[in-house]
């Protein structure tokens, strides 16, 4: 009983520490926000890849595999727009790398659940199975994973977002290269210093952003989430309940008095 209470207290303190340490919110710039794929040297695709969002490369210029790959957006190869996006990516990468850590993680994250915070590994990280990111009901909550070298996900692995977590608020700051396994499902923005490779059929709900190296795609689907740095989405409030109930009561009044109304029209 006492142990359970202690566990709860520890969990609360841990969550509090995580929350307090994540004071600054990381935002991608408004230009890089529009990219689903951005590379430093080349973007290479094989098979029916679909990118929902812009695709770019800078300072390199080589983009191959589109078509048969499809970009529902614009391809920016070594143009000023891609250059601006790379500059913003560097800023975001440095901000993510410099965010004060709230916990240290290591090895394989598979099977674990993470709450909003900054998680640091000095070496590499792997994901086998399912990783759950739980925003505790706060759609603005951010998750930042900092790693010194590689990020590797296994075949069929999944990153699940729950309780209001949003892909645009998840940042994977990768010290070297990221590799997503075949048929895996990944969520969040991958900010890699070098390169990013997606295995056959892997799906990414987020962005693949490589600063210096290549992005390699193999029949993948990349859904770029709504940007965190763009204009805020429009709220869609319902009409006030006064208008709604007045309408309904008027409808009833007309329905109830329909005979009298018809009679008055006849006479």
């Amino acid at each position: 009983m006492k142990g359970r209470a202690l566990n709860k207290l520890t969990a609360v303190l841990f969550w509090l520490t995580c929350s307090l340490s994540l004071k600054a919110q990381i935002t991608l710039g408004s230009t890089v926000d529009t990219f689903g794929v951005l590379a430093g040297s080349t973007v290479t695709s094989s098979g029916p890849t679909a990118v929902l969002g812009n695709l770019g490369v800078s300072p390199g210029s080589a983009v191959t595999g589109f078509p048969p790959g499809q970009v529902i957006g614009t391809i920016h190869a070594a143009d000023a727009f891609a250059g601006t996006a790379q500059t913003q990516l560097t800023t975001a990468y440095n901000a993510a790398a410099g965010a004060p850590s709230s916990a240290t993680v290591s090895g394989d994250l598979g099977g674990l659940t993470f709450f909003p915070g900054v998680y640091t590994s000095s070496t590499s990280l792997a994901i086998t199975g399912t990783v759950t990111l739980n925003a505790l009901g706060n759609p603005n909550a951010q998750f930042i994973f900092q790693m010194g070298s590689t990020l590797t996900t296994a075949v069929g692995s999944t990153v699940v977002l729950t309780n209001g977590a949003q892909a645009s608020n998840v940042f994977w700051q990768v010290g070297s290269s990221a590799t997503l396994g075949t048929s895996s499902f990944f969520s969040g923005n991958i900010l890699a210093l070098v390169s990013i490779s997606l295995g056959t059929g892997a799906a990414l709900q987020g962005r693949a952003l490589a600063r210096n190296g290549a992005v390699t795609l193999l029949s993948n689907t990349i859904n770029t989430p709504a940007g965190s740095g763009g204009p805020p989405p429009l709220a869609t409030p319902a009409p006030s309940s006064l208008i709604l109930v007045t309408t309904a009561l008027l409808g009833i009044a007309i329905y109830q008095g329909r005979k009298r109304i018809f009679q008055s029209f006849r006479t």
């Binding site: 929902l52 925003a135 009901g137 759609p139 977002l161 209001g164 977590a165 949003q166 892909a167 645009s168 709900q205 859904n223 770029t224 989430p225 709504a226 763009g230 805020p232 989405p233 429009l234 709220a235 869609t236 409030p237 319902a238 009409p239 006030s240 309940s241 006064l242 208008i243 709604l244 109930v245 007045t246 309408t247 309904a248 009561l249 409808g251 009833i252 109830q256």
Partner: protein, 249 residues
Amino acid sequence: MFEQWRTDEDMSHGFLVPFVILWVIWRERERWRALPAQPNWWGGALLALAAILHFAGALGVGLFAESLAFLISVAGAVLCLGGFSWLRALAFPFILALFMLPKLALVYNQATLPLQLLASRVAAGMLTVAGIGVIREGNILDVGGHRVAVVEACNGIRYLLSLGFMGVVFGYLFDSRSGMWAVRLTLLAAAIPIAIVANAARVAAAGWMPALDSGFPHELSGWFIFVLCLAVLLITRQLLNRMYVLNRS
């Protein structure tokens, strides 16, 4: 209560509830006039309970407690003056009066986010079924770059309260025969899924057609969908009524 009706658009129907109550009392005047007055001292107990609740509300328990105290004190006064037969005769106006009460913060705060997320999920589902590509991130829908957010004011509470209230009124007007409580309750229960689906449809429409996402067109589409809800509620009532008649025969 008046202040909340004025400032909270979820509760602004509160202005109309007293008029509906007065109309119901007037409509039933022959019935309750015929009842003999049998003053009952239990009314005093209710008045005392209301006073305690009001005091607790004033100490900080909340506006809901104070407003409930007001209703209980009215019930106490009715009991003191006319007895249980009067209170029974006025039971329906008291049920209607519950819709004037402010939202219970404890329940509302717990329900808001799940309702927002539910509306987002159902709206995204509707768009997907209609063949429209949508990305949902929590409470935000992105339809080809057009983003709409299901914020607190979009959670469906307005439809839910308005439709719930109208469900009760419909039940009173059209199903007043004795033994039809099941029909009335089912009608009230039916208002919940109808309101949830309608609110999601409203959000989906705003996501799909940027012209409907703000201003007068947005208000109009919300109003139109509510009118459709009323029609669905009336059809549901008709079906329930038929089932009831069939069962009786």
